[in-house]
Structures are given as C-alpha cells and as structure tokens.
C-alpha cells in the first residue's frame, strides 16, 4: 500500500469528518430554522467529501476495506485531524469562528489540490471547492455580522477568535510523509499558503471590527494523532454502534 498517500488522504479527510460530526450535533438546536438548515447543509457537504476521500483511501488498503472501516474503526491516535475542528460548539460565535478559520484554510488547500498529479485527489478537490467556497462565504458573513453586530455579539465573537487563534497554525503543519508527496507533486505545499491565509483572515476580522490576537503561542498535535480531551468523547459517540455491536452490517 502507498502509505504516504493513504496518510495524506486521511489528513485532509479527517478534518471534514470531525467538523461534520461537530456540526451534526447542532441539528435542531440552532438560533433559527434557517441557520439550522444551512449548517446541516455544510455538515452534509463535508460528509460527502469524507466519503469520496475514504472510498479512495480504502481502495489503497485492499479490496475488502470500506469507507466505514476507516471512519469508525480507528483508534484515537490514528485520526489525524487538526485540533481546530474538534473544538466544541461552545456558542454560535465559536461555531462560526471555527468554521471561518477552517473554511479559509480549506478553500486555499482545495484550490491547490486541484492541481495535484494524483488525478483522483484533483477531481475530489474540483468538486468540493464549489461547496467550500460557499461555506467560506457563509461563515465569513457571519463573522462580520457577529463582530460588527451588538456589543454582546462582538464580545462573544472576539472571545471565540482569541481562543481559536491558537489552533490556526497547526493547519499548516507538515508531516514527514506529506513532505515526500510534495516533491512528487501530489500533496499541496502548505507552507506556501500560510502568509496569504493570515492575510485573508486578518482582512475579514478587521472588516468585522475585531482585534487580531497577538499571541504567538500555537497548539498542535492533532495531525500527529495527539488530540485534545474532546476527541475521546467525539469518538465514543461516533463509534458507539461499531464498538457495541462489532462486525455487523447496518
């Protein structure tokens, strides 16, 4: 099996899986019916992308492995999503802040991934980028609304950004296998995107009348499988059926 490629696919797909799962928790609990429907759409888009990636990854393993084996049957250490996406739904400002900080990254990643020499990855990226462009528009609009809305919303949005800021740099962390694939023209060289990422989000945050955190201390670990305490709970929910009733078809 092409271990590097497999790992690389997961490093993209796991972000979508865990963020989709977080958004799935919200269905039925949003501030309006309209926002409920919108967030569910984003969640559905992400799960759709996850399935394309995992189906591809499963084929790399062997003929028997399925998308669900990859989604549900790994141990916590084997999930390689960034810490950002596993952060909890603290309030609507956190939800939109997390979405915005991820979408800005996701959009840039996919835009480069479309040029990958791996045709399957390039195809998934071209399909997903339309969805993610909308996610970015939706979440950045909400960051503007909350940032420049009422004093309360501004305070909450600022608190969310201050908290989530520490998770942004990890999005650009490169694993060893990723570096090998960059040379082959398969993986995206994230280091090239970092400066414009921070430029883009700074622009939106300033438009939103928010202050850019000056903290230089960033948290990381997720992309190497070392997660926050939240991850265990996410997985115990997500894997509940698979663990309680192993080897069954649903």
């Amino acid at each position: 099996m092409n271990k590097e490629l497999y790992n690389y696919i997961l490093s993209i797909a796991d972000n979508c899986l865990i963020l989709g799962q977080r958004l799935g928790e919200l269905c039925g609990h949003g501030p309006t019916l309209e926002t409920d429907i919108a967030l569910t759409n984003i969640s559905l888009d992400l799960f759709g992308q996850v399935r394309s990636y995992y189906q591809y990854a499963a084929k790399l393993v062997d003929d028997k492995t399925t998308e669900d084996d990859i989604a549900f049957l790994r141990n916590e250490r084997e999930y390689v999503n960034a810490l950002l996406v596993e952060q909890p739904n603290t309030d609507f400002a956190f939800i939109m802040g997390r979405q915005f900080l991820f979408d800005a990254f996701h959009l840039m990643l996919l835009s480069e991934l479309q040029k990958s020499h791996d045709v399957t990855l390039a195809a998934i990226a071209s399909k997903s980028i339309k969805e993610v462009s909308y996610h970015y528009r939706f979440s950045s609009d909400w960051v503007r609304r909350l940032g420049d809305g009422t004093p309360e919303s501004k305070e909450r949005m600022q608190a969310a950004i201050n908290d989530l800021w520490a998770y942004t740099e990890e999005l650009f962390y490169q694993t060893a296998s990723e570096k090998l694939l960059i040379e082959k023209g398969i993986a995206v060289d994230l280091s090239q995107l970092k400066a414009s990422y921070y430029q883009n989000i700074t622009d939106v945050l300033e438009e939103s009348t928010l202050t850019i955190p000056d903290s230089k201390w960033f948290k990381k670990g997720g992309k190497e499988g070392i997660h926050s305490e939240h991850m265990g709970y996410i997985l115990s929910d997500m894997q509940f059926m698979q663990r309680a009733y192993p080897n069954m078809k649903w």
């Binding site: 799935g24 569910t40 609507f92 420049d148 059926m241 078809k249």
Partner: protein, 318 residues
C-alpha cells in the same frame, strides 16, 4: 358589518370551498376558519421541529456514513417542512415568533409521538417506517385542502417526504437480515413504537371534536378511525416481510370487513402524554426553549448589523 352581512359572506365562503375553490390569505374568511387553520398549521409545524429532536439524537451515532448522511438530510428536511408550514401560517396574520411563544409556553400542541425516547438505532428505523408512514397517510389528503398556502406547503412536504419512510424501512430491513441481536433490536423498536403510532391518528371518531367542521373545510378527508385502519392494513404486511411481529395479540385479518381487526388502544396513555406526562415532554420542550433563548443574541446581532449596513449605504449615497 351586520350579522346578516356576515351570514351572507359565510354562505358564499362555504359555497366556494364546496366548489373546490381555494381560499387565499387576503380573501375574506370566517374568524373561526382563520383560528382553526392557525391552530392546525402551527401544530403541524411544531410537530416537524420537535420531531427533529428524537431523530437528531442519533445523528452523531449513526452506524455508517451512508446512514449518517441520510439521517442528517431527513432531519434537515423536517426543519424545512417546519419552515414551509410556519410560513403558510404567517399568511394568516400571525408571526413565527408568536407561534414559537405558543409552543414554548405549552399553549400550542405538537404530535405526541415525539415525546417518546429514541433509545436504540432501530428506533430511527421504526420512526421512519411507522411514524413517517402514519404522517404520510395524514398528510397526502392535505395537498387538496381548501387553504391555498397550506395546500401548497403540503405538496412540497409530501414530495420531499417520499424518501423518509423508505429510509426507515431500509434500516429495519437491514436489521432484520442481520444477526439475532439486530433482529431483536428491530422487534423491540416495533414493540415500543406500534401503539404510539396508532395514536397519531387521534382519538376515535366518537371522541373527536373537530371532525365535522374539518371535513367541510377539507382539513380532513377521512375520519381518524378510517385513517388508522388504512395505516394498520398497509403496515401489517410490511412487518411480515421484515419477519417481526406486531405487538397486538388481537390483530387478525377479518375477511368480511376486508380489514385487520385490532386490540384496544390505551387512550389513558395517550391523554397522559398529551397533557405533558410522556417520557420526554420536558426534555423536548427544554431543547426547543434553550435553542431559542440561546439564539437570541445571534438574531439580535444580525439585525443590528443589517441596520448598520443600511445606514452606511445611505450615508454613502448622501
């Protein structure tokens, strides 16, 4: 307007409905028609959004990615259906927020079935199969109801719902084709959801207060008992295909009637749940109220932002 005049208007109004003409929001209508429609449409809308909760309960635990996206899409549809129905109701001169207030204060009712808990994955199958099955029987005739906006909303709802019941039945089918443990899970779900599903059609005709008026206004085409019988007749063979048994020892095909006979329904339980003593009434209402109250600052912020933007545009124009 004199009483005489109103009587005349009412006569013309009833004649229009009898001719199968649709009533539109700005048309004159008897106050009772307006109130009855606000009550029924909002009750229907509330049922959709409270109905999101028991199923939403399993989104994070769905056992495969395929099941997860199907369930997400279904619960999302229910939000959409709630939205279509609230919009139809708003044409009668009441706001969605007023309708929410009625729900949150306990003044408005919603379908009692959603006060039962979803405690296993099979419950998601049973809800799709039985609850959506019962809902379809109730809803299809409403596509021809007399109030235009309600009828149009129902056309959309029925079109979208067609996958919901299939989704549920497919879950049950997979369970019944699986291990003994899975089949047992399916049987257990049928045991718990069967009777509450029969109650979804409401009290027996003898006990039902609104039927006659509702028939005239085409809010109803068949009586509660007729619809219930239709549901039983079509569902029993579906259970047979699954190979699980309906939990009613008195259930028997009656050749003469051409229908299934069935045992007595526990109406005591029905009224207790309606009155708020069901297993999850409090939890459901708390979830709705929390979502609304926790969302208030978000809604306010969006309005404040919109107004600021409007001002900015105005200032630029000057």
């Amino acid at each position: 307007m004199s009483e005489e005049n109103i009587k005349d208007l009412e006569k013309t109004f009833e004649a229009r409905i009898a001719r199968d003409e649709k009533i539109e929001p700005k048309d004159w209508m008897p106050e009772k028609y307006r109130q009855t429609h606000i009550r029924q449409i909002s009750q229907h809308a509330h049922s959709e959004i409270v109905g999101m909760l028991p199923e939403g309960n399993w989104i994070t635990r769905a056992p495969s990615l395929r099941r997860k996206v199907a369930l997400l899409a279904k619960v999302q549809d229910e939000a959409g259906h709630g939205l279509y129905l609230y919009s139809a109701c708003e044409t009668l001169g009441i706001t969605r927020n007023e309708l929410y207030d009625q729900l949150h204060s306990g003044k408005a009712k919603y379908s009692s079935i959603f006060n039962y808990p979803t405690i296993s994955w099979a419950d998601i199958g049973a809800i799709g199969w039985l609850v959506d099955g019962a809902a379809i029987i109730n809803q299809v005739p409403l596509c021809n109801t007399s109030f235009g906006p309600y009828a149009r909303a129902m056309v959309r709802v029925c079109k979208e719902e067609s996958f919901h019941q299939r989704q549920g039945y497919e879950i049950m089918l997979k369970l019944c084709q699986g291990t003994a443990e899975q089949k047992e899970m399916a049987q257990d779900a049928l045991n718990r959801w069967w009777w509450p599903s029969l109650m979804m059609f409401g009290p027996t005709d003898a006990e039902s207060t609104h039927t006659e008026q509702s028939m005239k206004w085409k809010l109803k085409r068949k009586t509660n008992d007729e619809l219930r019988q239709q549901f039983i007749d079509q569902t029993v063979p579906q259970a047979e295909i699954l190979g699980i048994s309906v939990p009613d020892p008195e259930l028997k095909w009656n050749k003469e009637r051409g229908h299934y006979d069935f045992g007595p329904i526990d109406w005591d339980e029905f009224w207790q749940v309606v009155k708020g003593h069901g297993p999850c009434n409090k939890e459901r209402m708390k979830a709705r109220v929390d979502a609304w109250e926790n969302g208030e600052w978000v809604r306010d912020a969006a309005m404040a932002y919109a107004e600021k933007q409007k001002l900015k545009k105005l200032n630029k124009a000057v």
